[in-house]
Subunit: 359 residues, 2 copies
């Protein structure tokens, strides 16, 4: 399969500093596994217009390190005339609970006046979804035309359909799963250990920039797992970085090394290490074994080259939907971009999504 190098641009267009984020307060929130947050703020962004009967809202849920700026990281799917058509739909995206991009998380201020850090309670995907639901209610949206998300966002979308079966009509879930495999838990655990074992982490009470070494190394692990072998071969091969012969040292020699360092270092400037601990934990705990009770229609997509969230996991969700007597379809898409394909594919994924939303 030919790989279009033009698709390998930055795949994370998170919110610029001056993004038009809005905020909604949802008050005290009791958490699934215990504890409560006395006050929760939800950051969100929206595009398009909510119609008069409030029936055209689509909630978009972000992946692990995304944020409410869905029109950035899913620009190929969201916009006028695109699959998530802002001429037809009111598209809304929130930053998840536990995040560090506007919604309450470990960097938020505890009632005692200092940051939560690791006093923040353990949260689950169900908590993220419950917070989103209450945010939607605050916006006057009682029912979603659809909920959509990839990777961690797909877990939230799936969980919406069982947590609030009367509040969601359709779920589009791409490159995701109903429960992390030990491989996925393992990758997340390496990310956590890179942070937890960094002497600058200090039990979460770091002065910023904090455990940047661990955070960067963890991000490198993530980025390598987001790409396929073929994508890495096409993108970098064995090319050296700005030179024709190696320098024979432990600095950057190969382009792929430069890429990983760039991604790792850049990430430390925009993401909080504690937040990453909480969010990865939440998705490792996530486990849905049945969709009984849901009343949603489903569209699942997965990508041949995505070895991090492989097709059999999407098939399993699809089979769970069928077993619950629900309308469901699954499409495997043959693109070579690895897990990142769910962000990069604005063609095949989009076509199926458009048809699904038109049903």
């Amino acid at each position: 399969m030919r790989i279009d190098p033009g698709l390998f641009q930055e795949n994370e267009r998170t919110a610029p500093a001056d993004a038009a984020r809005e905020f909604v307060e949802i008050g005290t929130t009791h958490l699934e596994v215990g504890g409560e947050l006395p006050s929760v703020t939800v950051a969100y962004e929206s595009w398009g217009t909510l119609n008069s009967d409030r029936s055209n809202a689509i909630l978009v849920c972000h992946a692990l390190t995304g944020d409410s700026h869905a029109i950035g990281w899913w620009e190929r799917l969201i916009g006028p005339g695109k699959a998530l058509d802002t001429d037809k739909f009111y598209i809304v995206a929130t930053n998840c609970l536990g995040g560090c991009r506007g919604t309450t998380g470990p960097t938020s201020v505890h009632p005692d006046g200092s940051e939560y850090r690791c006093r923040f309670p353990i949260i689950t995907v169900r908590d993220m979804v419950t917070v989103q639901k209450r945010a939607m209610e605050s916006l006057g949206i009682d029912r979603l035309y659809a909920v959509a998300g990839g990777s961690m966002g797909g877990m939230q979308a799936l969980d919406w359909t069982v947590a609030f079966p009367d509040a969601v009509d359709r779920a589009f879930i791409t490159a995701s799963c109903a429960a992390h495999s030990p491989m996925q838990i393992g990758f997340n655990e390496i990310v956590r250990q890179a942070i937890l074992r960094d002497s600058a982490w200090k039990d979460g009470d770091y002065e910023r920039p904090g455990p940047v070494a661990g955070l960067a190394v963890g991000r490198m692990v993530g980025h390598l797992s987001f790409l396929s072998e073929a994508a890495l071969e096409s993108k970098f091969g064995r090319r050296l970085q700005d030179k024709r012969t190696p320098d024979y040292h432990f600095g950057v020699e190969f382009e792929v090394e430069s890429y990983l360092a760039h991604q790792g270092d850049k990430f430390t400037a925009r993401f909080d290490a504690n937040s990453l601990l909480y969010i990865t934990r939440a998705i490792d705990y996530f486990e849905l074994t049945s969709l009984v009770g849901s009343r949603s229609k489903y569209l699942f997509t997965s990508f041949v080259s995505d070895w991090l969230y492989p097709t059999h996991q999407s098939l399993k969700m699809h089979e769970m939907a069928l077993a619950a007597g629900l309308a469901s379809s699954h499409v495997e898409i043959d693109l070579p971009y690895g897990h990142d394909a769910f962000l990069l594919d604005g063609v095949q994924q989009a076509r199926h999504l458009r048809e699904f939303l038109a049903e």
Copy 2:
């Protein structure tokens, strides 16, 4: 494919402290990319008896973090009546140049009386092989009946056939490649960055135990990449570690987390961080594009579930051998153990190896 859990025992039986290692001094060694080592010691072990015409020697080359104790890590292949039959062959294994298990490396003493650490020169796979060749000469072995190795050991075996075409008759190369892909370089780079970014690394001049956090995290990355998704599923699934419900914290929850921590921590007690930097660098530089000049016969094996050293890399080596007019065969083995299969498989791999050695 059914997975035999009995095969998931420790796959790294490296030399016990009282191992019967022997040592040979090979003197000054000039290195491929410049510099020299004024004195090189090679640690080796051997099993079986060298025959009178010294024609039954098989050199076994270890993988990244292995050592001369081949009868430990390849016990399923080496021994009386096994494929590497110690009743017929004289099996010899060395610790590689740059290692930390007896052969000269960064922990060795520089002529100025203190350890080399990162004053150690950059080494290559060719240097490892050259040092092995001179060690063999010191043992009175001018010609190898065969050279054998998996993963990094396979690279050495392959390089032997072009570096010393008159000194090797057969090469058995399993789960290896002629050049690292960017994915493989990327995994190694993450291991290096975990060490280099650990504040305890101190430009290599650490007091022991040194950068244990980075070294452990790097090892966790390694271990995850050595297993297949199916092997992880079979070995751990989503089982919790010694409990029925999660504790909801960042300590060990899942069995796979305990496994990774155990592997990571154990590794820091037996391996030197600088040594790992040098050896991973060496295999990332390794790149053979032709086997012209070799006079060896080849047997390549690879494993369906090995996504770290995938079959297409073994096929490429096989095609290089055929293109050079040499006898070569390649066998892909359908076992679910991931990259570790080359250590665990004492049946299929062994059968092909036995036939190859009998030709």
